[in-house]
Homo-oligomer: 401 residues x 2
C-alpha cells in the first residue's frame, strides 16, 4: 500500500461539478488500496469575496482577524469535498489546519510551518479514512489561526507528505505538467517527464507559476517526490525529484517574467561602500533585488542598475530617494517596460557555450540585451517587455525546437 | 466594573452597516468601563447558503461534515465584527468555539454544551480586550467541530455568562422585549419590564419565539440574569430572572401557536396499558407530544387524541399506523388546521377563576374549544386555526386590556 498526498487548488473545487471531479480522482486512488490525504484550497473566488467583505468594513483590519476570516474558506471546501466523497460511498473525514496538527509561527497572513503533529492524520489513515485537510492554514503558539500566504496550500501538502513520509505528493493544477516554456506562447513547448528540484526552483522564481517556491524548497529538503498534473485530464504529469535521467536537452525550460522593473542610480561617487549602503537600505525596506549591474561612469562616478519585481518598484524608488544625502547620486532612472527571459537546466553546468547560443538567438532577432545574470543552472537577460514573447520563442527554438 | 455578555443574531450582523451598528453598541458598553463578551451568529443568509451548497453536492451528507461546513458561518461574522471594532479604535479579539473553550457532546448538529473552559476568555478580558465569540459551535472529545442546533447562539451566550458569572446576559433581537402577546397581531400588547424564567419558558414553548428554550433553562439553572432587547433601538428591554415584582396583571402573556396538528386514534380497545403502548411507541420515534385527551367511546372502546408539532405530524401518523396490530384501533383521524392559544402567568397559581375567565372570553366570541390543557402557570386551549388571532385578541383584552 502506497501513501499518496494530493493537493487541489481553488479552481479545481470551484463548483459542485468540479468538487465531484476531485472526489472521483481521490476515490480512484483509494480504490487501488492506497492511503490518500487530500489538501484543498478555498473554492474559486471565496478568498476574494471574503477580502471584499473585510475591506468594506475595515481596509486596515489586523492580520490576525484577516486570517480568522480567510481560513473559513478552506473550511467550506474541505467539508463539501468530504460530502462528495461520502456520496460515492467511501469513508472520509475532513480536518482543519489545527486538527491536522499544523503549527506555525505567528506571522499572520504569511506564517511559516514549524511542525506538523501528525498523530490525528495517522490515526485517520489507520482507520482507512480518506483524509481531507484544509490547506493554507495552521495555528500558532497562542492557539490562534494563521494562514501561510499565497501558494500556501502547496506547502501544506508537501509538509504532510514529509511528515507522513508519503510515497508521492501530487499537485493538481489547470496545466498537465511542467513545460519547457509557456505553451500558450511558445509553439514548440514540450512537457517534461521529470525535472530536478533545483531546476523547478529556478523556473518557479522565473515566473513559470506552476508550483509555489516554498513548497519546492520543502520538498527538496525532505526529499518528497512531487508530481505536477492536471485535475481535468487523467494522464501522468511532471515528476519533480532530486536527480533525473540524463536527456539530450541541455536546457530544461525557458521562462519569461514581465513583472519586473529596472532602476538605475546614476552618478554615484565611486567610493568603497556605496553598493553596500544602497543595497543595505533596500534590504531594510524588505525589497528583493534580482539582477545587479554596476558600470563605471565618467569623472570618478559610477552607475548601479538593479531589477526588482514591478510590485515593489515604488517602494524601492522611495527607499533610494531617502538615500540621496548619504549616496549623493545625480539621478534615479526607472523603466517598468522590461522583461526577464531566462533559460534553466542543470545540463549547462557541464556544457560550455550555452550562454553564447542564447545571445546568438537573441541577436538573430535583433533583440537588445540590457542586463545579464547567470548562476550554475540559469542564464537570465533583461530586455524590452515588448520583445519578451519573440525572445522566448527564439531561445526555445534554439535549444529545444 | 461589570461584566456583560451580549448576543447578536444573524440579522443583526447581516451586512457591513449592521455589523458597524453592533460594533457601536459593544464599544458603548466597553467605554463605560465594563468587560464585554459578544456572541454572534452567522451573517443573515450565510447558513442557508451553505446548506444549499451542501445539498447540491450531497443531500444526505453526514452530520459531522455539516457541522464542519456550517461553523464557517460564525467564523466569518466574528472576524468581520472584530474588524469593525478595530476600526473604531478598541482592543478586540475574536475566538472560535473551541478557542473560547466550548466542549460539547458528540450529537452533531444538535450538540449540547458539556462545559466551558473559560481560561482564554478570562485572560483576554484581563487584557481589557473586547472578546467576540462564535456562537452555535464547540468541539467534542475527538476535537471535532460540533454545532448546537437552532437557537444555539443564545445558549452559547448564557453558557459564557454562567461560566464567567457575568452580571447580565443581553440577547439582542429584532423586537425590543417580551410582550404580553404578539404586538403585530394584538393591538393592546404591552412590553413587560420583567418576567420570570418559568413564565418565559412557557411563553417560548408556546411559540413566542423570542428566546431559545434551552438558553432560558440554562439561565434559570445558573441564575443568569437575561435581558431581551432590540439591536436597533437604544432602550431597555425585558429582564428575565428568578422572581419579579408583583404586578396587577394575573397573566403575563397570551401566545398562539399555529405549528400544531391534532391526531385522534379512534376505537381503541378499553384495556389497561393501551395509552402506555401508544405513547411509548411515539416516544421511541422521538415525537414530542403536547396536549393529551382521552374519551370513553361506546362498546368498550375509547378514543385518544393528542397534539404534536405540525413538523412531526407525518412521523407521528406513521408511528401510530405501525401499532395497528398491537392496538387494534378502528381508525386514525388528523387535523392540521388547529392552533393552540395559551395564557401564562405565575399569578394564576394563587388566583382561582382564571380558567373560567379565559373560557368566557372565547365563548363570547363563539369560538369552540377542542382540547384543554393546564399547568400551574399556564392554560392552553386547542381551537380552529382560523380563530387563532381573534381568540388571542379576545383573551388578551379580557386579562390585560
Amino acid at each position: 500500500m502506497a501513501l499518496i498526498v494530493k493537493k487541489f487548488g481553488g479552481s479545481s473545487v470551484a463548483n459542485a461539478e468540479r468538487v465531484e471531479n476531485v472526489a472521483r480522482i481521490v476515490t480512484d486512488e483509494y480504490k487501488k488500496g492506497n492511503g490518500v490525504v487530500v489538501v484543498v484550497s478555498a473554492q474559486g473566488d471565496t478568498t476574494d469575496d471574503l477580502i471584499a467583505k473585510a475591506k468594506e468594513i475595515n481596509p486596515n483590519a489586523s492580520k490576525r482577524e484577516m486570517d480568522m476570516l480567510l481560513s473559513a474558506g478552506e473550511q467550506i471546501s474541505i467539508s463539501l469535498l468530504a460530502m462528495a466523497i461520502e456520496k460515492m460511498g467511501y469513508p472520509v473525514v475532513s480536518l482543519l489546519g489545527w486538527q491536522a496538527g499544523f503549527h506555525t509561527d505567528s506571522n499572520y497572513t504569511v506564517a511559516r510551518i514549524k511542525k506538523v503533529e501528525s498523530e490525528r492524520l495517522k490515526a485517520e489513515l489507520a482507520r482507512r479514512n480518506i483524509v481531507v485537510v484544509a490547506g493554507f492554514q495552521g495555528i500558532n503558539k497562542y492557539d490562534d489561526v494563521t494562514t501561510l500566504g499565497r501558494g500556501g496550500s502547496d506547502t501544506s501538502a508537501v509538509a504532510i507528505a514529509a511528515s507522513l513520509k508519503a510515497d508521492r505528493c501530487q499537485i493538481y493544477t489547470d496545466v498537465d505538467g511542467v513545460y519547457t516554456a509557456d505553451p500558450r506562447k511558445v509553439k514548440g513547448a514540450i512537457k517534461m517527464e521529470e525535472i530536478t528540484y533545483e531546476e523547478m526552483l529556478e523556473l518557479a522564481t522565473l515566473g513559470a507559476q506552476v508550483l509555489n517556491n516554498r513548497s519546492v524548497e520543502m520538498a527538496k529538503k525532505y526529499n518528497v517526490e512531487l508530481e505536477v498534473l492536471s485535475s481535468l485530464e487523467n494522464k501522468p504529469g511532471t515528476i519533480v525529484k532530486e536527480t533525473v535521467k540524463m536527456e539530450k536537452m541541455l536546457i530544461r525550460g525557458v521562462a519569461a517574467d514581465k513583472n519586473v522593473s529596472r532602476i538605475s542610480v546614476v552618478g554615484l561617487k565611486d567610493h568603497p561602500g556605496t553598493a553596500f549602503k544602497l543595497f543595505n537600505a533596500l534590504g531594510n525596506a524588505k525589497i528583493n533585488i534580482d539582477i545587479i549591474l554596476q558600470s563605471v561612469g565618467r569623472d570618478g562616478t559610477k552607475d548601479i542598475s538593479f531589477t526588482v519585481s514591478a510590485d515593489q518598484c515604488k517602494e524601492a524608488l522611495a527607499a533610494v530617494e531617502k538615500m540621496q544625502d548619504s549616496l549623493k547620486y545625480s539621478k534615479i532612472v526607472h523603466d517598468e517596460t522590461v522583461a526577464k527571459v531566462s533559460i534553466v537546466g542543470t545540463g549547462m553546468e557541464t556544457h560550455p557555450g550555452v550562454a553564447a547560443k542564447m545571445f546568438e538567438a537573441l541577436y538573430d532577432q535583433n533583440i537588445n540585451i540590457q542586463m545579464i545574470s547567470t548562476s550554475e543552472i540559469k542564464i537570465s537577460v533583461l530586455i524590452d517587455a515588448e520583445d519578451a514573447d519573440r525572445a522566448t520563442n527564439a531561445v526555445h527554438a534554439a535549444f529545444i525546437g
